[in-house]
């Protein structure tokens, strides 16, 4: 028997390290990881996808699966993301959200609020600062947070409002970033669920248990996913 873990693209690097670490402890457990957009993965699970564990980029989607009775239990929060300002050309660490109004900044990349939690939170932060209406027309949207990161990385957008988890790994980690105050938006909590089909899969439960260990917490923190 083996385990199929699906995870939001935004936790890709952390999840790869977590699985590697898990396999050191349980080398006989065959695990494969598939990454995708949280929404898409949710749709797939609803429609019978053979996935055992789902690590979402938010809590709403796992909650929805739970509500539909497709999970073995309630969603479990495993991480909290943070937003950062990141730029390929500017020193983002010296900038604040208010600087986004500067005419030097022609384009701001962020995730699409309609689909991505990071996009929603970024919009909340900007709205709370009263900046949303001012900068809205400069904003370009990525379908997900990694696309937004790519836009910034390519220099096409002068600055990006992206996930901390992306700013700390290559190729973005050679540029400084500015953390966004977590009080400016609702928390970016991320939860996972065990799907119903994995109810009797011992590996699924073993892996779920492993998520709570300090090792994993360390890995997550390393990747900017403070929990």
């Amino acid at each position: 028997q083996n385990l199929t873990v699906v995870a939001a693209a935004s936790v890709r690097h952390a999840m790869q390290d977590i699985v590697a670490s898990y396999q050191q402890q349980f080398p006989d457990d065959a695990i494969r990881i598939i990454f995708g957009a949280s929404g898409g993965l949710t749709t797939q699970i609803i429609n019978g996808a053979p996935f055992d564990l789902f690590f979402s980029a938010d809590t709403a989607l796992p909650q929805r699966l739970y509500d539909e009775g497709l999970t073995t239990g309630k969603p479990v929060v495993y991480a909290e993301g943070r937003l950062v300002l990141w730029s390929a050309d500017l020193d983002a660490s010296t900038l604040t959200l208010h600087d986004l109004t500067s005419p030097n900044i022609r384009r701001i990349a962020m995730a699409q609020p309609r689909t991505a939690p990071y996009g929603q939170r970024a919009q909340e932060a900007l709205t709370n600062l009263g900046l949303w209406d001012v900068v809205e027309e400069k904003i370009v949207f990525g379908e997900n947070i990694s696309q937004a990161a790519r836009m910034a990385e390519a220099g096409a957008a002068e600055i990006g409002l992206i996930a901390l988890s992306l700013a700390v790994v290559p190729p973005l980690n050679d540029q400084p970033f500015q953390l966004i105050d977590r009080d400016l938006h609702a928390p970016l909590t991320q939860a996972f669920v065990i799907t119903r089909r994995a109810a009797s899969n011992p590996i699924a439960h073993r892996f779920a248990d492993f998520i709570g260990t300090p090792e994993v917490t360390a890995i997550l923190r390393q990747h900017g996913l403070h929990s």
Binding site: G40, T42, L61, R107, G142, G155
Partner: protein, 228 residues
């Protein structure tokens, strides 16, 4: 049921503009290219023909990414544009238009090329002997006789641009009123599990497309040339 939000109306506008423009541009570009390719095959022509089909081979998002690299401010084309005082093409309507054109080029070129090849020399010869110059010939003889090819090229290009969102998403940044097209909106609805909205927009798009295609094909039938 079809009460649409402002964003959706805006997206419809952008989408139609994008599809029309790119179809037109494609026909303008593809016609001479296909004509040239339809001549006696040489190695150069075969290479170009193979190159034309390549945009198809890359996943659209990836193609969009590469286009972003090239058309963005740091890319070869984008930086050249900037240096002559223009703006680069990322996140602009022009940018996604360029992208759509590149992406749909094979659908326009190949049917036209085959139509021209099938046409043969005789009608052109006849028209020339009857006093028609090159442009005259093209309009009065070649165009009507290869209309089937043009219809296919146009409908495939149009439909494909309508449905494409990967390239546009990456390069366009989904800016409402500028680069946010209907397909992106539908995609968003699906991603955010807002299925009702997705169904509504999909249905709208399918109905519109079906009607358009139905009208185009019906009109085309009326002008169809009987073959021996």
């Amino acid at each position: 049921m079809l009460s649409l939000s402002a964003a959706e109306w805006q997206a419809i506008g952008v989408t139609l503009k994008l599809c029309l423009y790119s179809t037109l541009i494609l026909l303008v570009i593809a016609t001479p290219l296909a004509w040239w390719l339809a001549q006696r095959r040489t190695k150069v022509r075969i290479i170009v023909q193979a190159l034309v089909a390549l945009p198809l081979v890359l996943p659209p998002t990836v193609l969009g990414f590469y286009l972003l690299l090239v058309l963005g401010p740091r890319g070869a084309i984008g930086s050249t544009l900037e240096s002559i005082g223009l703006t680069h093409l990322a996140f602009s309507f022009t940018g996604i238009l360029v992208a759509s054109v590149i992406y749909s080029l094979p659908f326009a070129v190949q049917p036209l090329q085959e139509a021209f090849r099938q046409l043969g020399q005789r009608p052109t010869e006849v028209a020339a002997m009857l006093g028609a110059g090159p442009i005259d010939r093209f309009i009065t003889v070649i165009l009507p006789l290869t209309r089937g090819g043009f219809i296919i090229a146009a409908t495939l290009s149009f439909a494909h641009t309508l449905g494409e969102f990967g390239v546009i998403l990456m390069l366009g940044g989904s800016i409402p009123g500028e680069t946010q097209v209907l397909s992106v909106l539908i995609y968003d609805h699906v991603e955010s599990l807002n299925y009702a909205a997705a169904h509504r927009l999909s249905l709208l798009m399918l109905a519109f497309s079906f009607l358009t295609l139905f009208v185009v094909y019906s009109v085309n039938r009326r002008f169809e040339v009987s073959k021996l």
